[in-house]
């Protein structure tokens, strides 16, 4: 052990010598006082910066709500200077960045938050929206599902429903029908029966996904709750039309106000449904004569359609034996038509099915050769489809 004199710095005035325990006691006392002082200062400091952070955040919120994203970004950043780990601040900054079209920048904050709370519904949803905006479908799907199955502090059932709806809409917009269908079905299953608004949304999504049976189920139930629900009536009409239930479709269309019935999407379907209804010999309540007239008219309409199609293709319809579908269909129809005018059909009502079968076959042959028809031919062809005679 060296003497005290040696331990004193070279060239410096010797300090007053205290015993070690006195120095140590002084150190401990100083330590206690210093801890108390630091605690007091730290408390004051934290109070101050929390106030500053909250003030900046509130300003940011106000700017964001007012649509001033640039100011909101600055305010949120200022808030984060004083509370850099505040998840709420980071989340709002990320949202503001995404709103400013700077999703990549926001993503980085969100990924941090996600690493801290992987099950957060909010964070997953925000990330999903950024990914969706960038067209990164697999990321978007992953984050949307994270949000659907994630934790929501407020109203989790409603939030999950909304997220799934957003996901379904995103998938439909991207044309990803196959991936959208299970989401929409799940959405429909999780929609409460008494929530008309949500069921209407689900119905529209089902409509966009062309899940006609389900659409009809949803929309059939909606007018029951509200007889004048135009969306529901239109949805029900559309789905009934697409299901080949033209009579029901007409019924829904007729219940719509005229302006809705004549809207661009509906007018065509309405007209076609009317035509189908007018040429359909299978409607209940028709007289034998009316059925016969409709069947004969359909046969002659289909014959003309085949002839026009053959002429369009430059095909001869007089070839023997018939080779093409058009020739075969026409030959079969001619064989029948030779002795089947409407009077004969009226006399033998059991032939209506056979006559209509030939008419549908000719329409199908024409569709296969020349594409889908328009007008009354389309009506006849659709009627055939609804009767189960599909195009070859």
């Amino acid at each position: 052990m060296s003497s005290p004199a040696n331990t004193i710095a070279v060239g410096k005035k010797s300090p007053r010598i205290y015993s070690r325990e006195a120095v140590l006691f002084g150190c401990i006392l100083l330590l206690v006082l210093f801890v108390l002082f630091t605690a007091a200062v730290s408390r004051m400091y934290h109070k101050k910066i929390h106030v500053l952070a909250d003030n900046w955040f509130d300003q940011g919120e106000a700017s964001f709500r007012a649509g001033d994203i640039k100011s909101a970004l600055t305010d949120y950043r200022n808030a984060m200077v004083y509370s850099p780990d505040n998840a709420k601040f980071q989340f709002h900054l990320a949202q503001a960045l995404a709103a400013a079209g700077r999703g990549d920048e926001g993503r980085s904050y969100l990924l941090n938050l996600l690493s801290e709370s992987p099950g957060s519904g909010d964070v997953n949803l925000a990330l999903a929206r950024i990914a969706a905006h960038k067209g990164l479908t697999s990321d978007a799907l992953r984050y949307y599902h994270g949000a659907i199955y994630g934790v929501w502090e407020n109203n989790p059932i409603e939030m999950r429903w909304q997220v799934r709806r957003e996901l379904a809409e995103y998938l439909l917009e991207r044309g990803l029908q196959q991936q959208a269908v299970p989401e929409i079905i799940a959405l429909a299953d999780s929609t409460p029966a008494d929530n008309i608004e949500q069921r209407r949304v689900v119905g529209n999504l089902l409509l966009r996904a062309k899940l006609w049976n389900r659409v009809l189920d949803v929309f059939r139930s909606l007018p029951a709750a509200n007889q004048n629900d135009e969306d529901a009536l239109l949805g029900a009409a559309t789905s009934a039309f697409n299901l080949g239930q033209y009579n029901a479709a007409l019924d829904y269309f007729d219940r719509l106000p005229e302006k809705d019935r004549n809207s661009p999407g509906a007018a065509e379907m309405y007209k076609t449904a009317q035509q189908i209804n007018e040429m359909n010999p299978f409607l209940p309540g028709l007289s034998r004569e009316a059925k016969a007239r409709r069947a004969a008219s359909a046969l002659s309409l289909a014959t003309v359609r085949v002839q026009q199609c053959a002429s369009q293709l430059g095909q001869s319809l007089s070839a023997t034996p018939p080779e093409t579908q058009l020739q075969k269909a026409l030959a079969d129809a001619k064989e029948l038509a030779a002795d089947e005018n409407w009077q004969n059909i009226a006399r033998h009502p059991e032939t209506v099915d056979e006559v209509m079968g030939h008419a549908f076959e000719m329409e199908n042959a024409a569709v296969a050769a020349c594409g889908e028809p328009e007008g009354v031919d389309q009506a006849l062809w659709l009627l055939g489809r609804s009767r189960g005679v599909s195009a070859q």
């Binding site: 331990t7 325990e21 330590l31 910066i49 600055t74 690493s115």
Partner: protein, 596 residues
């Protein structure tokens, strides 16, 4: 050095065992205190030193907490609470604070000027660990004012010196041995730096690399303890969060690392430019008339304020801005501009003699450069893993390694300040490249350069690394010894000796026991033809100290002067002679090594 006996300084209480206990006559507190101090003072000094390390760590941690609060409070009061201060504040605050800092440094705290690292280092190597407490107070006030007003400097270097100053004061007051007083300053330095960075491992490594300047420090335990206790203290008041938050990433393919090679090159070149500028300008600034020192910090503040009108991000330590860069908040062009302007602003502050550290600015510059390089690379190679933030993080370590020339510290620093282990491989690669570039073009590291400009020559780890360590293998001669057994005939031994010139003869007594026999002694016995002599009869010197081929030559030198030759034995078999080494051989080997 440890002392086996108990510490017994004049003021110490004798060991508890010898003291009569009359606790009944004393108050409970006094009795407890005496028992406790007895225990403390009867510790061996090295254990007592560890206890002090914890105490110093806590005190340094508290000091750093107050210091950081002081800086941020000053910043809020002088520049306002916004990241974009208003025009009058941004110019006036650093200018006026610059005048105040200059006056304080010149008239009240002259030792607050300059690098805290070098002052601590010179305390270790020049002034027996003495750091006046006045310096601690001076650093605290002037740095808080300077950094808080927007001068482009950081709080780490002053924190390091404050820790060292507190430790030095405690060491002196407790009248520790001279060696311990000298070593206690780095203990405090590590504590101060660890608390400032919230990075205990980096602080320990930095103090070993830069302050003590040797890896063989006997105070490693105390340094680690002090660093840990200061960080724990700091976290108790300021929270445990890492300084920066970067999403984890994964380097998918080895080829991805090439991106970080580019970053290493850019970081190395940038650090080189900054170092060259400082090395060139500092002596010129110091040679200006003394009266100009009154205005230098103010002029630096004014220039920084002018930059800050458009880009306030360059003002102050810049940690919130680094965080923003790590979250990809800036375009690559802005990142490059910020890096360049931060180099300028930091140069102004540093060259003007404004107290403050270079750590935070170097992290800022590195982060901006890294972010810019990352953004450019990802523009051309969108599949590159990681984000701009990842590159900013790696860039931080890269520039730090190139500028401060502490490659190992920089790797750990990046991990600790981000809490992100995934960046370790990229940061190792880019840091080593930057370090290599910097070292190739500037031989002396920054702190050594500054010390030399101030007339001090202090040891550095880098110099030690460059020194060639010679081993016995470099000096020993194989096939230069004749191994004799006790029963060998003298005549045969003489024949063997004559067959090859310069052979030295060793007698193998038993494994690990070797003697030396002079040739003249063998010849003397051989001359006696009256009877047949064996080697055993010869006068030999021994037992000889033996060495191994991997031992340092310096170690061998301890014994080489006392013996004509030393046997070099196999570590696996002490009866096997691998070679021989003499004093001449050792000196020749030393002479071959070029002097640094």
């Amino acid at each position: 050095m440890t002392e086996p006996t108990a510490v017994t300084s004049p003021g110490a209480i004798p060991p508890a065992a010898n003291e009569p206990t009359n606790s009944s006559s004393k108050s409970g507190f006094r009795a407890m205190w005496e028992v406790w101090t007895n225990r403390v003072f009867t510790m061996r000094e090295d254990r007592f030193f560890l206890f002090l390390a914890v105490l110093i760590g806590i005190l340094s941690g508290l000091a750093v907490v107050c210091f950081r609060i002081a800086i941020e409070w000053t910043q809020i009061e002088l520049l306002g609470s916004s990241l974009s201060p208003t025009f009058p504040r941004v110019v006036l605050a650093p200018t006026l604070a610059g005048i105040a800092v200059a006056l304080l440094v010149i008239y009240a705290f002259p030792r607050a000027r300059g690098s805290g690292v070098n002052q601590t280092k010179s305390a270790v190597y020049v002034s027996n660990g003495y750091i006046p407490f006045n310096t601690v107070v001076g650093k605290f006030i002037t740095c808080a004012l300077a950094i808080g007003s927007g001068q482009s400097l950081g709080p780490e270097d002053p924190s390091l010196q404050m820790g060292a100053g507190i430790a030095s004061l405690i060491g002196r007051r407790l009248r520790l041995s001279q060696e311990k007083v000298r070593l206690i300053a780095p203990v405090g330095a590590a504590a101060g730096l660890a608390a400032a960075f919230n990075a205990p491992i980096s602080a320990v490594l930095f103090v070993l690399e830069e302050v003590i300047g040797t890896w063989s420090a006997g105070v490693l335990g105390a340094i680690v303890l002090a660093a840990i206790s200061s960080v724990v203290t700091m976290r108790a008041f300021l929270g445990p969060e890492s300084m920066f938050r970067v999403p984890p990433f994964r380097v998918a393919k080895p080829a991805d690392l090439l991106a970080y090679v580019v970053l290493g090159i850019v970081g190395g070149l940038a650090s080189l430019v900054f170092l060259k500028w400082l090395a060139y300008a500092r002596p010129r600034m110091q040679s200006l008339p003394r009266w100009t020192q009154h205005f230098q910090p103010a002029v630096a503040g004014l220039l920084i304020g002018i930059i800050g009108i458009r880009l306030p991000q360059v003002m102050g330590a810049g940690y919130p801005i680094i965080d923003q860069a790590m979250h990809g908040q800036f375009t690559w062009k802005l990142l490059l501009v910020l890096a360049a302007l931060k180099i300028l602003a930091t140069g102004f502050s540093f060259l003007s003699g404004t107290p403050g550290g270079m750590f935070a600015p170097s992290l800022f510059i590195g982060a901006m450069l890294g972010g810019a390089v990352g953004a450019i690379e990802q523009h051309f190679f969108p599949a590159l893993p990681g984000t701009v933030g990842t590159f900013a993080l790696v860039g931080m370590g890269t520039f730090f390694a190139g500028f401060l020339r502490v490659p190992i510290t920089s790797v750990f620093m990046v991990i600790e300040v981000s809490g992100n282990y995934t960046a370790i491989l990229p940061v190792m690669i880019s840091s080593l490249i930057a370090y290599g570039i910097s070292r190739s073009y500037i031989k002396v590291p920054l702190f050594d350069l500054l010390a030399r400009q101030d007339g001090l020559v202090l040891p550095s780890v880098e110099e030690q690394r460059e020194q060639m360590i010679l081993t016995v293998e470099d000096a020993m001669r194989v096939d230069a010894a004749l191994v004799l057994e006790r029963g060998d005939k003298i005549g045969e031994a003489i024949k063997k000796l004559e067959a090859k010139e310069g052979l030295l003869s060793f007698l193998r007594v038993r494994p690990g026991e070797w003697n030396f026999i002079e040739q003249s002694e063998l010849q003397r016995l051989a001359a006696d033809t009256s009877q047949s002599h064996t080697v055993e009869e010869a006068n030999s010197r021994g037992p000889l100290p033996f060495v191994f081929r991997d031992m340092s030559l310096e170690e061998a030198l301890h014994w080489a002067g006392d013996w004509p030759a030393l046997p070099v034995l196999s570590r696996a078999d002490l009866s096997k002679l691998e070679g021989v080494v003499t004093l001449d051989d050792i000196l020749k080997a030393f002479r071959k090594v070029p002097v640094a």
